[in-house]
Amino acid sequence: MTTETVVGRFGRYGGRYVPETLVPALLELEEAYAKASADPAFGEEVARVLREFVGRPTTLTPARRLTEAWGGAHVWLKREDLAHTGAHKINNTVGQVLLARRMGKKRIIAETGAGQHGVATATACALFGLPCEVYMGALDVERQALNVFRMRALGAVVKPVESGSRTLKDAMNEAMRTWVSQVSDTHYVIGSAAGPHPYPTIVRDFQSVIGVELRKQAQAAFGKLPDAIIACVGGGSNAIGVLHPFIGDAGVRLVGVEAGGHGLDSGQHGASLTLGTEGVLHGSRSLVLQDADGQIQEAHSISAGLDYPGVGPELAHLAKTGRMEVRTATDDEALAAFYEVARTEGILPALETSHAFARGRELARELGAGKYLVINCSGRGDKDVATISARGVPPPTGVKA
């Protein structure tokens, strides 16, 4: 099943809107990737690293207490939080860094929001011995101190970006500007299923390992495909990774949850699929948060990874064609879900992931008993503890103070 209507396009979305300087590099990348994908040795190498180093396959865990608490479908968790570095991001960076090495590139640049993609890129670069520079909004550098440390410890150079809103979109602008001037020997590892063609395809393919594993695991665990799969959506790499292998399965409901921030009517959110309009940001045509004059608006989310005013073009296509249902969760709902999951399942989910959990209860009830709901647990919440604990920790449930 493919949603690619013509090369590089998902319906109206996608394309390659970049300075001419980058076009030859994107053509080179497209060709190199086509050759690598057709080469079984490359596929085996990626699979071997994912198995030996990343810890794949990640488990599919029954969430028995959440199932009971929510009173609906059986809830299962696809545990990307158990992948090395603590999130799904490593699936893509291992693949892209191996591809860059195959192309003879001498250095790697990347951008990061929450720092998970930066850490995953720094990790892959350390593993394969390539120098690495990570662009990160100055505000995110402040919010995500743990991940900044991890990147530096892994030998990457973290470049704080002071322009614009000092968050992910500005980091991506700066990484693109840097790439334009160093394009001959540098590979830019984009972390989301966004950006100019062929990135949305490459990232989706490397992340699809999540959904491919899930198909097998679901059959083994409950004897059929899930009735619904739910994932959080910022740029959308974990969502497209878990959902893509199920696009052709009409019986599987695909659900994406965006950052509702302070609420959809507050103007402070990251809900580009829900409230975005068609536009071009970071090299592809998709749905973006923008004003009537085409200026990109600043997104807001308690989670730095969902704080992005765009979304990958394939997800925009899936949302617009109705194949993927789109919902939102506010900051407060995500926080409440974080504690609920922590206290019923013993898992601290990332704030990004907490958005998916926040819509889990109603979806489980909609599906009803006997059905199976899988939540993509995209990452662990260690990186978010400063943000979360700053708001105070609620008292233990069921224990008298």
Binding site: E20, V23, S163
Partner: protein, 263 residues
Amino acid sequence: MSGEIAKAFAKAKARGEGVLVAYAMAGDPDLPRSVDVFSALVEGGADILEIGVAFSDPIADGPVIQGASERALKAGSTLKRVLDEVVPEVRKRCPETPLVIMTYVNVVMAMGEERFAKLSRERGVSGAILPDLPPEESAGLRATFDAAGVDLIPLCAPTTPPARAQAIAKDGRGFVYCVSVAGVTGMRAELPPDLSQRLDLVRKASPVPVVAGFGISTAEQARTLSAHADGVVVGSALVRAAHTDGPKAAKALCADIKRGLKR
């Protein structure tokens, strides 16, 4: 209107000069005062004006023009206001100078491609430069512009392979903008040594004039390049001069670079 660009090149050639395409940001420091900057550039000898329209996420621009973008957005600059308030005033004060809008594709899409082409034509804009619209993505927009009589000016980069550069040049409109350095806009002390060769190649293939831009800020650089191009684009140096020392400084810099373009 598109004939205006050809006429500007022909006039400069008749005077034995290369063309100076001078860039400034509309709305920097505010809309009315940016009109003063544009007219100062023409007084200084600019042959074509490149009117920058700010975008929040300018991936092809270096720090000087990024800064100008931020100031312009703060001052309320939008494509609509530039076409309504800046372009007509500049036309009034510099009736002989062709105007070219430089902005990003999202800004044009937000206005609507046809509406932009129509308004441009009505207000006296001859062409547009959209640095994030490579040839693969430009067919539809270019057809709309062609129909309206507005030139979509193509860009060619140092990384563009020769065959692709020739194809871009052959199908050029207005002029071909040869980006001199792999990188973002901004001043450079040195330009790549193979630039003249590349300009010769593009010029040979192109039915329209060819200019070099990005990194050019001195009369000396302009002199070297004008042997291989029909003109140069100067942006960041002028934006910085206007921002720090006002329109007069930008005018003086134009005059200086123009001396370098005399053959």
